[in-house]
């Protein structure tokens, strides 16, 4: 059952990711990307990382992608206005990206330490919000607070940049 779900979600993620690139309309790209995020969230659930699965949906698929969508619609981007690269440049990009992928896969295949290791599926409670929360507010409380400063500065930065001169 888990294997089937894993392969289904994987296929969905890869297919959606490819569709993000292929679709001419930016709005479609955004929607396909949301599909990717859903697939990844599904993987998180399979790995019993429940907190991250939910956060991924809320933050990424919910907030961030909606932001993207807003911007695209604000600019009224569509297929006609979509800038296109030269076909050779596209080919070069695909080939070099493919080389990169092949390189990494061949490296993973020869890595002996990975042999026989398995990821724990559907059990193990480290991904539960209780455990993560304990950890976050005890050992990782300082980085956690620092992220709030990061957010604040990002907010200020976004306002300053977006301000009309």
């Amino acid at each position: 059952m888990i294997e089937i779900l894993f392969f289904f979600l994987s296929a969905l993620a890869v297919f959606s990711a490819i569709m993000v690139l292929v679709s001419k309309n930016p709005v479609h790209s955004v929607l396909w990307l949301i599909a990717v995020f859903f697939a990844i969230s599904g993987h998180y659930v399979l790995l019993n990382a429940q907190f991250l699965a939910i956060v991924n949906l809320i933050v990424y698929a919910g907030a961030i992608m909606v932001l993207f969508l807003f911007v695209i619609m604000l600019m009224n981007l569509n297929t006609e206005t979509e800038p296109q690269k030269h076909i050779w440049m596209k080919l070069a990009g695909v080939i070099s990206g493919g080389c990169f992928l092949m390189m990494l896969i061949s490296l993973v295949r020869q890595a002996v330490e990975m042999g026989g290791r398995k990821a724990m599926m559907a059990e193990g409670d480290i991904g539960l919000i209780k455990n993560l929360g304990k950890m976050l507010f005890s050992e990782y409380v300082v980085p956690f607070e620092i992220t709030s400063i990061l957010f604040l500065s990002a907010m200020v930065g976004a306002v300053v940049i977006g301000k009309k001169h």
Binding site: V20, V36, Y44, V71, A119, M120, M135, L150, G162
Partner: protein, 111 residues
Amino acid sequence: MPIQYYIYLCLTLFSIGIIGVLTRRNAIIVFMCVELMLNAVNLLLVAFSKMHHATAVVGDAATNAGIEGQLFVFFIMVVAAAEVSVGLAIIVMMYRNTHSVDINFLNRLKN
């Protein structure tokens, strides 16, 4: 599930992100591809976290080993959210000045 499968999946997603960055000129799509790459890494982190936990839990059932990976994912999401807010602000600014989201317009920065 063997960890290699996760690694292959994540590498594939990551490479698709790279190819997207290389082949698209729309700044927003490029930005989305960056998000895709970030997510690939997140997934890999969670997978590794569970891999470590699987090893550690054999000796100690109550262990927390591997939780750091998931915390890292949490922080990456935080940073990504901040990054998106600023990045999109920049893209909006760029659009306001050039009426385009073509990254090739950015070569004006060199002058």
